[in-house]
Symmetry: C2
Subunit: 168 residues, 2 copies
């Protein structure tokens, strides 16, 4: 009769979760390297893009649009404000809410950093053949979408957001 399977490092190396973690670390590392001239993290970059696309958004809705944790987002916003890339204004019709807008500095650095970010994104996929890059991205996008509800902060894209603003 067979004995219990031995516990080996393959239980780590071949595990999807481990590969996702490794790849995320590599991606951040490459991003920071390509963008080191700009003093912006991947999270701060995504937040700037979202505020640029949705001027006057509030923190809670911002967290839904980029699927980042709301607690974490508080400090991200503080740092962006400290760097003078965004400003927060109280909403006149709801005293709980603070509206987010890009400053001129913020809009400017966003324009400047885009090429560097694109270089970073290209670099992290570069080791694969073009066809394989596309396959991997397609499957990963599917998997993330189908697992959307499994994360603490599910992604709520723009159109869904507008609906939320009125109905729920």
């Amino acid at each position: 009769m067979p004995s219990k399977p031995a516990i080996t490092m393959d239980a780590v190396y071949a595990a999807p979760g481990y590969l996702f973690r490794r790849m995320q670390q590599i991606a951040v590392s490459i991003f920071m390297e390509e963008c080191k001239a700009f003093d912006l993290t991947p999270v701060q970059y995504a937040a700037l893009i979202a505020i640029h696309t949705h001027p006057g958004i509030d923190a809670t809705r911002l967290s839904a649009v980029i699927a980042f944790d709301r607690s974490t987002l508080g400090s991200v916003i503080e740092r962006l404000q400290a760097k003078d890339y965004i400003e927060r204004k109280p909403a006149p019709e709801d005293k709980r809410i603070k509206l987010l807008h890009l400053t001129k500095s913020g809009a400017a650095i966003l324009r400047e950093i885009v090429p560097a970010v694109e270089r970073a994104q290209a670099r992290m996929m570069e080791p694969l053949k073009p066809a394989d890059r596309k396959t991997l991205m397609t499957l990963l996008a599917q998997l993330v979408d189908l697992n959307n509800e499994a994360s603490r902060v599910p992604l709520r894209a723009e159109d869904v957001l507008e609906h939320l603003g009125k109905a729920g």
Copy 2:
């Protein structure tokens, strides 16, 4: 003549780095849910496996075997020690080094948690068709391997480690 491309949320949603981040968060979330009875994080689990596979390993070599940051690993080891899952003994021939071993508790919880971890790994891939799961994992493993040197702590697997211990 064409104007500059507008900055939209696609610059975020379609970016590999963003998808890697999302997927990592989802993977951790599912892991914690399946393993909540065990009070172990993914990182702590990987460290336990590696210490089980390499009894008497030191912290620096451990970080190379699982490709985790050495600074971070210090606190991970402390927490595992506080939970009485591992113990640290000073090495007789090198006063800088502390050797890591599983305790009986550590070995026991490792045996018990394996099924839960396997459920978690299966669940995060479950939304894809079996063939697509395999394709995604194969490509991701390739990409991580080919980008190995791009991360702060490149993976040094077991055989490489033994060589390092003697030559470098």
